[in-house]
Amino acid sequence: MNPNYNTTERELEYSLPFGPAHPGPGNFAVKLRLDGEKVVSAKADPGYLHRGFEKLMEYRTPIQNAVLSDRICVFEPLNWNLVHAQAVDELMDWNVPERAKYIRVVMVELSRIQSHIIWYGSMSKAIGFDTGFKLAFGYRDYILDLFENITGGRVYPAGYICPGGVRKDLGKNMPEKIRKTLNKINDMLSKFEKFDNLSILVRTKGVGILPLKKAIQLGATGPVLRASGLKTDIRKDDPYEIYSKLDFDIPTEKLGDSYSRLLILRREVRESIKIINQALNNMPKGNVIIPSLNSGTHINLPKGEVYVRNECSRGEGAMYMVGDGTEKPYRCKIRGPSLLHQIPVLEYLLKGSQIADVPAIYWSLNPCPADMDR
């Protein structure tokens, strides 16, 4: 630049809305300030999906809330079903039957595999790798057929995991069908590993690096924190259901860029397949729901408060419930993992990057806008 040229730096900047009507994000907007092709600062703009979930739950009884709790995040409905059911179970302090706990773990791990497949497909589409997108969504339909056979709905299972157990038993031939589907998912994973030398490696290696100290300070949890180097998982540190009896591993990486988050995704699908096989082999016989609930009795929530934490596929999902003696909860606070990933972590990572890297950074954090706005 000519040193005699009489302009300040601010006159060269311009602002660009990376907005909601864009195939890049989707239901979420970021306002970028650019200088040429480099991003100077970013400001997040949430709120396009805000329904006020926490107060909607105060007008409904726990059985009605079990149907409403699928819709907190549309990509992983069964995981949020389990969070709500665990909160009511702990308040009421009753014993859930053993067979119900095993079935709950099988359904939650299937839902986690399905959510990771959506992550891989959307990230490939945003980068421009169409083969990965079509393959991923093609294989996901096998799992949705399983859900339709067990619960009755392809996407929303209508409150299958309810307080007190699960609603219906698995059929007689269901474990055989689940094992066949898992073999197909193994085929899919071996195909994904062959794609590593193509465009994915070039566009995601060394992009969006998050160091470990900053990650803890900004509040990242789940796969984002494991990619930066800390070996932690709520299923091992704060166990619930039957996870303390199962044997599985926790994948971690050291660098913290987009490519290491992608590697962790693939390894987590393999660990989930291990968990499902162990649970299917050791399942006991018995009831699947507390017998007194079958005839439609009234549930009165006692006075007290609980805080329940769960490992959703995006991070730490938690619920704080307060009961006061009536049949409806007094306060029900939902903590989603995406609120912290999409506002502080994204604004930190986008500063100083190129504009062509913005989709690769955004989708590697695995965001869910419905989780953030509630």
């Binding site: 907005g19 195939p23 409403l68 339909d141």
Partner: protein, 159 residues
């Protein structure tokens, strides 16, 4: 000479239907997926239920599109953006409302931030019920739309 000019006076509605008849073989869809319903629109683009064999592909700008899918509930913040997108599309255009939340408010009928009836804000041509509707149901709805156009029936809403 005067007779030739008289023959070319079509009414507004007939103009719209005549134009749509020629475009019927390839309706382009605007790529704006909003709230819950879109999770069943993505398999439509995939290989199990292929929508490209009917000529429908996704575009990234509303100025090239014919069909706008409103999938699911709309909050007050996002209905303002939807209205702007609707006015950017060139005539003739079709609006399809998917799901039960756009018909009557659905599961969030007592929420303070969602709208209850889409017809008060944007004119709607076709409703497809479900929560969310299956891909086969969406195909049946689009097929009914094509039959209406082919048999030259009156369009239901005001243009």
């Amino acid at each position: 000479m005067n007779d030739m000019f008289k023959k070319q006076e079509f009414s507004d509605k007939q103009k719209k239907v005549k134009k749509l008849k020629t475009q019927m073989k390839s309706l382009w869809v605007f790529n704006w997926f909003n709230s819950c319903g879109f999770i069943e629109l993505i398999p439509l683009v995939g290989s199990r239920w292929d929508m490209e064999r009917f000529g429908m592909i996704l575009t990234s700008t509303p100025r090239h599109a014919d069909v706008l899918f409103i999938t699911g509930y709309q909050t007050i913040k996002s209905i303002k953006r939807a209205k702007r997108i609707y006015e950017q599309m060139p005539e003739p255009r079709i609006v399809i409302a998917l799901g039960s939340c756009s018909m009557t408010g659905g599961m969030y009928w007592d929420s303070y931030n969602t709208i209850k009836k889409l017809d008060n804000y944007i004119p709607v041509d076709l409703y497809i019920p479900g929560c969310p509707p299956r891909p086969e149901a969406i195909f049946e709805g689009v097929q009914k739309m094509m039959e209406y156009i082919k048999n030259n029936k009156k369009m239901v809403s005001k243009s």
